[in-house]
């Protein structure tokens, strides 16, 4: 395994989310690009690499987008992998910079959310979803995650209160994050009493679709220092697609295939992690990530939640911007949310929710619920 040398990640930016937008995806992505230029002081010609993720860019793709915003990159990557796209963009950008194929790679993800955007997205998400899930009334990820949650509760003994604990801790973080859309106090009573969506999932187990964009830059450390940009180093990354295809039901994710490689490359273990950003479109997936990335033994996820504190002041700060469950899910930007938040924390830009002395952060992604399971998993260890 070759490390990432002096490649760093910097300039965390967010275009503030809104519930509904009449702007196109190009506006959201282009605004994120503008904010990266503002944050770094770079001019457009200096951005010679671009990683892009979006679900609502059609009919435009990555090449029409670079013309739209007047870039001329010598590296262009489009990653339509939803919740895994942030870490995937990071690891591609890092190698490209390390090997000299580009000097500064802008990584951006964003989506708009019109009146029917989410419905249209789930209706045509994939051929399997359109033809073999939609006809059951179960289009979209709710039903699939409900069944994964049903199984995980029987497997680990997790209760609704355990998942509620994660959701409430994230809401407490969100109350310290002006960028989060959902900042009202969430009590256990309100969590438990919420209307059912797809049993055992209730309203506060499900993300709220919205519009927004996220971005960051990848460059050499020397370049970041010249620009005066605080940065994080990349210790290790993994990704896996369609892991464990023979499991009849997704009781583990692809992280379990690669976690040993991740920690070996990082040369630290989960006990050295100061801050965790899991992908949280539903809280059950955070439980799976705790297990599969080695924070606890397999099947011990519920016990792990009971014995740790994840909110402000807790021993394991988790999804410190509120996660998607409180910040909102801005389409593909959901795959960047945890990475951008980890970067803010490591570089001391997290404002009221800043965690003290963040040396190591874990960021994890999970994307593309196709038919009965999520297909894309990824994770990265970042260091101050």
């Amino acid at each position: 395994m070759i490390g990432y040398g002096d490649v760093v990640v910097c300039a965390p930016v967010t275009i503030p989310y809104v519930r509904r937008s009449d702007k196109g995806a190009t506006w959201w992505l282009g605004s994120a690009l503008r904010k990266l230029l503002e944050a770094s002081g770079l001019t457009k010609p200096r951005i010679d690499g671009l990683c892009l993720s979006s679900f609502t860019l059609a009919p435009d793709g990555p090449a029409p987008f670079v013309q739209y915003v007047g870039l001329s990159p010598r590296f262009l990557e489009f990653l339509p992998t939803g919740g895994a796209c942030g870490v995937m963009a990071l690891r591609r950008a890092a190698r490209v910079v390390q090997c000299g194929d580009a000097d500064v790679v802008a990584c951006i993800a964003g989506d708009t959310n019109g009146p029917n955007s989410f419905r249209d997205l789930v209706a045509q998400f994939s051929s399997f979803s359109r033809d073999f899930v939609w006809p059951y009334g179960a289009g979209g990820p709710n039903a699939s995650f409900a069944m994964l949650t049903d199984h995980a509760m029987r497997r680990t003994g997790a209760t609704r209160e355990d998942f509620g604990k994660l959701c409430i801790a994230q809401r407490q973080w969100a109350q310290r994050n002006p960028l989060a859309l959902l900042r009202d106090e969430l009590t256990m009573q309100a969590y438990l009493a919420a209307r059912p969506i797809a049993s055992p999932l209730h309203l506060f187990d499900c993300v709220m679709p919205c519009a927004g964009a996220e971005g960051f830059l990848v460059m050499h450390q020397a370049q970041a220092s010249v620009l005066g940009l605080p940065f994080a180093r990349v210790l290790a990354t993994i990704e896996r697609h369609n892991g464990f295809p023979d499991d009849p039901l997704q009781w583990r994710g692809g992280w379990a295939m690669d976690a040993d490689v991740l920690w070996r490359q990082a040369a630290i273990g989960p006990d050295a992690i100061d801050l965790v950003q899991t992908y949280d479109d539903y809280p059950v997936i955070s439980l799976l990530q705790f297990e599969d990335l080695g924070f606890c033994a397999k099947d011990a996820g519920a016990e792990f939640i009971r014995h740790n504190e994840f909110g402000p002041g807790g021993n394991l700060p988790h999804n410190t911007g509120g996660g998607q469950l409180s910040a909102g899910q801005a389409g593909a930007a959901g795959g960047y949310l945890g990475l951008v938040e980890a970067l803010r924390q490591i570089t001391g830009q997290a404002g009221e929710r800043q965690v003290a002395n963040v040396r190591h952060a874990l960021v994890s992604g999970f994307g593309m619920i196709n038919y009965d399971r999520g297909l894309c998993t990824a994770a990265a260890v970042l260091a101050a």
Partner: protein, 120 residues
């Protein structure tokens, strides 16, 4: 015809048709234009009046993005593993939970799509 349309042609006549590869023998669902195991395109349909299986997980769906289902909510949905191998999303009869042995049958809906139903 797409694999979906072929499956629905069987379903319209009351048969559940799963694809089987004549090369490696793999039974697969959802249907595809290639075998997901060996990637050959030598697939045939094994049509029966029902396949045996076991419920893996269930949900009671209270919300749908499709207006055509609003009046039918809540819908009982399951992941069912066929004894023949693959796993399918099915409508589930009342009284079935994870571990219940079921028989899965197929019918055609108003849009010529196959709908699978699991009953005890």
């Amino acid at each position: 015809m797409t694999p979906m349309q072929q499956m629905s042609a069987h379903a319209a006549e009351g048969r559940l048709a799963l694809q089987q590869c004549t090369g490696c023998g793999t039974v697969q669902y959802p249907p595809r234009q290639l075998c997901s195991a060996c990637l050959a395109d030598a697939l045939e349909w094994r049509a029966t009046d029902g396949e045996a299986g076991e419920v893996l997980a269930t949900t009671l769906l209270h919300h749908s993005h499709a207006a055509e289902f609003y009046a039918r909510l809540p819908l009982r949905i399951a992941l069912v593993r066929f004894d023949a191998g693959p796993v399918a999303v099915c409508l589930l009869a009342e009284g079935c939970t994870a571990g219940t042995r079921v028989r899965v049958t197929a019918r055609c809906d108003d849009h010529a799509r196959t709908v699978l139903m699991a009953t005890p």
